[in-house]
Amino acid sequence: MDKIKIQFVLNGETRQVEVEPDLLLIDLLRERLGLTGTKVGCGEGDCGACTVLLNGKNVNSCLLLAARVNGCEVVTVEGLGSYDKLHPLQEAFIAEGAVQCGFCTPGMLLSAKSLLDVNARPTREEIARHIAGNLCRCTGYTKIINAIEKVACADRHCACSREAEEGR
């Protein structure tokens, strides 16, 4: 099979790679480029562990042919923050106890980012709806939603609904 040349922006850096027609984005990231932060939980779009941002939107990298990201921008968890400079969502996930086994965490963080990028002050309901494609078997979601809400609130200096609830 002829390889396909693609060029795309990965975590802010322009990359040129040659891919087989049937190579999936998840395998390009994990096996070829060594970015193992993106996980595989089901391989069929059901769990969200493989979530990355494609042109800013959260998508399942297990369902995308690598050839399709030609000309696109892809962000993985490795592009979200670093040890020296954590993304506020990463800080909040740690502080709020939203990480247990951590296997869902990379995908969860990227789904959260894609929400906050278009809706800086989501309600808890909107957060829950937006992370509905990311399964977490450990936490029961409450602390994950708390963490996302915390970042949304910090961004806008708003009185967040949870604090309002608790201060009641």
């Binding site: 994990r30 096996e31 970015l35 193992t36 932060g37 993106t38 996980k39 595989v40 939980g41 089901c42 391989g43 069929e44 059901d46 769990c47 562990a49 993985t76 968890v77 490795e78 979200l80 923050g81 670093s82 040890y83 954590l86 990463q90 996930f93 740690i94 502080a95 106890g97 990480v99 247990q100 086994c101 951590g102 296997f103 869902c104 965490t105 990379p106 963080l109 399964l135 977490c136 078997r137 450990c138």
Partner: protein, 427 residues
């Protein structure tokens, strides 16, 4: 404010930083140069005898480094936390007891070749009638899954005289309860990677039980425990389901034979087909109380379907028997718990370990008794709850630290608070 630095304080989770950064290494994230990819050929039938296996075409496929079958297992060829009844690879002429039993292993240069190789292996299986219902499995004329019979373990607890107890009861409730098989569905499917340096096998595995894993690897490879090193990789959830052996022995064998790093990662389908489950139960429960709602007698039969292999089955059923009376004191008790083999997926440890199933039954009994006696569900529970000074079904005298009454009271207070709030603070 607590005076302690850690106790009573919220402490950041030690590995959370690596996990939010995407640097935590789960087993499938680890790779080594020259690594092979392993896949297993699984039985498509639930009950049968492996008559013949022909893997010559698979072994000849370019890119295949090794094909192993039952005859290649150097050691015991069995494992299991309580009973060593599960084969590493089913040998020619031996029994297949569930869909998913391993018939052969392949290590290849990539996953696609490994899969192609699996498709080239020809197996000849004599199919036997599968036994899928534990109650049917207990009948004397049921097909035998094991020569020694299908009932693996029976656990009995007797306290007092239940016949007399029921005679003195004003109300009796008897019901049958069934609970379903449950998959843990940890978000990370089973995975591992193994290396052999000519002396020691080292592996990183998604597991809850590295010490047990190491022993099973040593027994089945027929090498010393000091030649096996099992390292728990970051593990994406287990909930009891990763206490059993999955990829460990397979990987060790392939690493030793090929002398190359070997990685094996289950697909979600493979994980669901081959991992242990929560035991499905059939529970018959009879509970008596006097006219005030005080419990008088309790009889219970529990049949747990442990599937093809024991895993933690006898332990789970023991726990169920011990907890069948719930957090209540009952003077007369008779409990029998059966662990039964079938050709279903094997059942093992899962959060609560046999207790959730019986809780479903004993709590339903309490509600029905309360209704018959004419008191509230809370009253009947408070009346019968274990307290310091109580004697449990197994005869344990509880001296202190029995939290059920204070828990019930706190829960009741919370309910009252919420109800009050719903009425907008008005009484």
């Amino acid at each position: 404010m607590s005076e302690f630095k850690v106790v009573g304080q919220s402490v950041p989770k030690a590995d959370a930083l690596d996990k939010v950064i995407g640097r935590a290494k789960f087993a499938a994230d680890i790779s080594f140069p020259g690594m092979l990819y392993a896949k297993a050929l699984r039985s498509p039938v639930a009950h049968g005898i492996l008559q013949h296996i022909d893997y010559s075409a698979a072994a000849a496929l370019p890119g295949v480094a090794a094909v192993l079958t039952g005859k290649d297992v150097p050691g015991a060829n069995n494992f299991g936390i309580i009973i060593k009844d599960e084969p590493v690879i089913v040998k020619n002429g031996e029994k297949i007891r569930k869909i998913g039993d391993t018939l052969a292993l392949v290590a290849a240069e990539n996953e696609a070749i490994a899969e192609q190789a699996l498709a080239l292996i020809k197996v000849d299986i004599e199919e036997l009638t599968p036994v899928l219902c534990p109650i049917a499995a207990m009948q004397p004329d049921a097909p035998k899954i094991y020569d020694k019979g299908n009932v693996l373990a029976v656990r009995k607890i007797v306290k007092g005289d239940t016949e007399a107890g029921f005679r003195d009861s004003a109300v009796v409730v008897q019901q049958q309860y069934k609970t379903q098989m449950v998959e843990h569905a940890y978000i990370e499917p089973e995975a591992g990677i193994a290396l052999f340096d000519g002396d020691v096998v080292t592996m990183w595995v998604s597991t809850q039980n590295p010490h047990y894993d190491a022993k099973e690897v040593a027994r089945n490879l027929n090498i010393g425990l000091n030649k096996v090193r099992v390292i728990q990789a970051a593990t994406g959830g287990g909930f009891g389901g990763k206490l059993d052996v999955s990829v460990q022995v397979h990987l060790a064998m392939l690493a030793v034979v090929t002398r190359r790093p070997v990685r094996m990662v289950y697909s979600r389908t493979e994980s669901i087909k081959n991992s242990v489950k929560r035991h499905p139960y059939t529970i018959t429960m009879k509970t008596g109380a006097d006219a005030n709602g005080r419990l008088t007698a309790f009889e219970c039969t529990i049949i747990g379907d442990t599937g093809a292999y024991a895993s933690y089955g006898p332990g789970t059923l023991t726990r169920s028997a011990v907890h069948a009376t719930g957090p209540y004191e009952i003077p007369n008790v008779k409990i029998t718990a059966y662990t039964v083999y079938t050709n279903n997926p094997q059942a093992g440890a899962m959060r609560g370990f046999g207790v959730p199933q019986v809780a479903f039954a004993h709590e339903a009994q309490m509600d029905m008794l309360a209704e018959k006696v004419g008191i509230s569900p809370l009253e009947i529970r408070l009346l019968n709850a274990l307290r310091p000074g109580s004697l449990t079904a197994t005869g344990q005298y509880l001296e202190q630290s029995v939290g059920i009454v204070s828990t019930l009271e706190a829960a009741a207070a919370k309910v009252r608070e919420i109800k009050l709030e719903r009425r907008g603070g008005r009484l």
